[in-house]
């Protein structure tokens, strides 16, 4: 018979204000099997844990139930407590009386009764617990970073710095990401390329870092410490080893109609191209949609001119498979689709552009070589109107409910840069609120208003329409309560940002969770912001939520620190809650192996004694404990009920069901 101890936590007033903790402790103390019960202000505190340890020793407890916050919060804590008092850590059960009781119910009687039922349920389960021991697995000392923007670059550099190997997988032909497209960065106005490209070069030169550009993650198997990842290297039709990046193919390519993605489609590029001058790797790529040779078989000019003989029209996608201990997602963001925002005339007017397009128009390496010209007629715009929060903070369902966070600052930057370079330009900004938290940020914004005379108008824009070549921006000025129309030459939309669409597929491959806005969910919003809920998967940069560059870089380094912490371990404890098959019941049908997502079940021939000295050889299931992740799919599929899941056995769950149903 077990000797159970019940520990009821007040969680300060979080639980105690709504649940009569004393009554819970007393009532549960009467339950069969329970020999000790206590309540305490903070069970998770040093003193609370000490109380548990002392009770385990003094009362010879064989298992404990802690009625406290969610097991997702402190199960691990209390398991350690139990272990340090000599108890098996899996002889601990948690009754979640905070998230499931005190925080959601107001009536004390009702809440107390529910807390008691949850406590009983935990006791019912614990009565059937058996001590479990965790096995160990090794750790592959190599990390994978998905995404080669500033987030991925910083994470990779930091991991490499600590001496571990890192691979960067980037879906585009070059690393650099969005930051490479920017002109200047706030609040210091230093040029993005000047601070980013040295880091890109560092990545290329670091022998611990391997860059797989123009590649995508195809398949992920395994678990923390032991992932196996299949990576697709898309055909670039160029031999990466031979290409010197001289650019001759670009200049001779007769097909010049491909949209230049790097310049936000504002101009065209040849079918054979290098995205930008400082691309890493500095290797060309051929766009199969545009290449005349690949489409019609005639042409081949680039291959004739290429001195390095790097062109290979027959190249196919290839695959590499590598092992990793940790995976970092750093997939970044894109500008949200503006299809629901017709009122701003983005689709119909060439001179209504997004801020990222403006960024390219102001960049010396951009389509206009840095002179600000209107896309429609290449003239200087004299009146420029910025519209903030386009698609952000929108609860109508057309846009994004969140604040994109970076727009207020980059608009102030744009306004300032334009006024600095072209003092005769009039700049207006329609805003809902100006949000500038951050070091030197509000000062920066005030400079735009005070020093550069940018006209900030609080109000929303109703519509933008074209009248005789002028873009009429119609909006309301909330402060003077007037309707105003500004005849502008150029309209710039601070469009919402959203996670790069590939993140959905990646989240599925990594079985990590994504929120309603397609941002990846962190393990804990405050305390574990760079880890995903799935062990061994880490989050860096915008894929987790809107961030500016300084924040992205800090998060990227934080993420690297977590990865290094993991890779520095030689052994990891496995989850002991794995499946176990009862040979005497197994009929060797193979159903469990079919449903197992990890291939953890194999069949072995075993010899069984039949009595009377006779034996029989039968095929039975055998679970590889290091590979099993403990989902329990096999347990329900098994027609003979031979497989069970340790820690969540059929009997245990049945006992829980009975306990919650007891009125």
């Amino acid at each position: 018979m077990q000797r159970i101890g019940v520990f009821v936590c007040w969680c300060g007033s979080n639980i105690a204000a709504t649940v009569d903790v004393k009554r819970v402790a007393e009532t549960l103390g009467q339950e069969p099997g329970v020999v000790y019960s206590a309540d305490y202000q903070y069970m998770c505190s040093e003193n609370g844990q000490q109380l548990i340890k002392t009770a385990i020793k003094e009362h010879g407890l064989t298992g404990i139930v802690v009625c406290s916050c969610s097991p997702r919060m402190h199960e691990a804590t209390f398991r350690k407590t139990a272990e340090s008092a000599g108890l098996n850590p899996y002889m601990v059960e948690i009754a979640n009386i905070r998230e499931q009781v005190s925080w959601i119910h107001k009536d004390i009687e009702e809440a107390t009764v529910k807390a008691i039922i949850l406590g009983r349920t935990a006791i019912a389960k614990l009565l059937l617990n058996t001590p479990l021991t965790a096995g160990e697995t090794g750790v592959t000392k190599r990390a994978l970073v998905i995404g080669g923007g500033i987030a991925g670059i910083q994470t990779a550099l930091d991991i490499a710095e600590a001496g571990y190997e890192v691979d960067i997988v980037e879906q585009r032909p070059t690393i650099g990401g969005r930051m490479a497209q920017l002109d200047k960065t706030f609040p210091t106005l230093d040029c993005a390329a000047c601070i980013l490209t040295p880091k890109m070069v560092d990545c290329a030169q670091n022998e611990k870092i391997d860059i797989l550009s123009y590649s995508e993650v195809e398949e992920v198997k395994g678990f923390v410490g032991n992932f196996t990842v299949k990576i697709r290297k898309k055909a670039r039709y160029i031999d990466e080893k031979k290409c010197t990046g001289c650019g001759i193919c670009m200049s001779v390519c007769p097909s010049k109609k491909g949209l230049n993605e790097f310049n936000m489609n504002l101009n065209n590029r040849p079918a054979a191209y290098i995205p930008f001058a400082q691309a890493i790797p500095n290797v060309a790529v051929i766009d199969p949609e545009q290449c005349i040779k690949l489409k019609t078989g005639k042409c081949g000019l680039c291959s004739m001119k290429c001195e390095a003989k790097a062109i290979d029209y027959t190249q196919q996608d290839s695959f590499v498979e590598r092992n990793y201990g940790a995976i970092v997602v750093a997939t970044g963001f894109k500008i949200a689709d503006l299809k629901y925002f017709n009122e701003y005339g983005y689709a119909d007017n060439k001179d209504v552009i997004t801020s990222l397009e403006l960024e390219r128009l102001m960049n010396a390496a951009g389509p206009t070589k840095g002179t600000l010209l209107r896309p429609s007629d290449n003239t200087h715009p004299h009146v420029i109107t910025f519209i903030q929060c386009v698609g952000s903070r929108d609860i109508s369902g057309c846009g994004k409910p969140y604040c994109s966070k970076i727009c207020c600052m980059y608009t102030a930057k744009h306004a300032m840069l334009i006024r600095e370079k072209y003092p005769d330009t009039e700049v207006h900004v329609f805003y809902i609120d100006v949000r500038t938290p951050g070091k030197n940020y509000d000062e920066f914004y005030r400079r735009a208003v005070e020093q550069y005379d940018v006209d900030y108008i609080k109000g929303m824009v109703g519509k933008v329409y074209n009248e005789n070549g002028k873009l009429m921006v119609q909006g309301s000025d909330l402060l003077s309560n007037e309707q105003i129309t500004i005849a502008s030459d150029l309209v710039v939309l601070a469009a919402a940002i959203e996670p790069e669409p590939s993140v959905r597929k990646i989240a599925t491959l990594l079985t990590t969770s994504i929120d309603t806005n397609n941002f990846l969910t962190e393990a804990h919003a405050k305390l574990r912001p760079v880890e995903s809920p799935t062990a061994g998967i880490f989050l860096s940069g915008m894929c987790q939520g809107p961030k500016d560059i300084p924040e992205t870089v800090s998060q990227a380094s934080a993420c690297a620190a977590k990865v290094i912490g993991l890779l520095a371990k030689d052994k990891l404890k496995c989850n002991p809650c794995v499946s176990i098959s009862d040979d005497s019941m197994c009929i060797g049908c193979g159903t469990c192996a079919n449903v197992c997502p990890y291939g953890a079940i194999t069949y072995v021939d075993k010899e069984f004694r039949l009595g009377g000295g006779k034996t029989e050889v039968r095929r039975v299931a055998s679970v590889n404990e290091a590979v099993c992740q403990g989902c329990g799919a096999c347990t329900v599929a098994c027609p003979s009920g031979a497989i069970d899941l340790k820690g969540f056995t059929t009997k245990q769950i049945m006992a829980e069901v009975e306990a919650v149903c007891k009125r």
Partner: protein, 146 residues
């Protein structure tokens, strides 16, 4: 145990997978989004761990409604668990309906870790539905009644 309320309180058992729905319930809790106290959650590693027997047992022991929550299709922590669970539950609920446990008393919902609001809405709605249907008389194992 003594009755808390004079009027009838239905009993609802909710099976929640550890990775999404249980976390969603936690989020509902930390966002202080209430739902009826007669919803009792049982944590399972994945929706595919929910054996039809658990549900039958719940109904036998007097549950008035059973809801199973898991990660959204495609988002299961174990990749495919919820697909098995979905198919299994469709069959089971059909059979239960045949046995006299109305379809409205059983439900499958996908709740992600970020959907605290959805979790509480679903529970409120489901509880209201069960209240409407009243006490579940079928499948009760009479031997359990004192």
């Amino acid at each position: 145990m003594q009755e808390i309320n004079k009027e009838y309180q239905p009993l609802i058992v909710a099976f929640c997978c550890n990775w999404c729905s249980y976390a969603g319930a936690d989020l509902a809790g930390s966002s202080r989004l209430s739902y009826p106290a007669n919803v009792k959650i049982i944590r399972v590693p994945c929706s595919c761990r929910v054996n039809p027997m658990f549900i039958l047992k719940a109904f036998q022991r007097g549950a008035d409604g059973v809801i199973m929550c898991g990660c959204h299709p495609g988002d299961c922590h174990y990749t495919t668990g919820n697909y098995y669970a979905r198919r299994r539950m469709t069959l089971l609920f059909d059979m239960l309906d045949y046995l006299g446990i109305e379809k409205e008393r059983t439900r499958v919902e996908w709740v992600s870790a970020a959907e605290g609001v959805k979790f509480s809405n679903v529970m409120n709605e489901f509880a209201a539905k069960i209240c409407e249907l009243g006490e579940n008389k079928r499948l009760e194992d009479l031997r359990c009644k004192e």
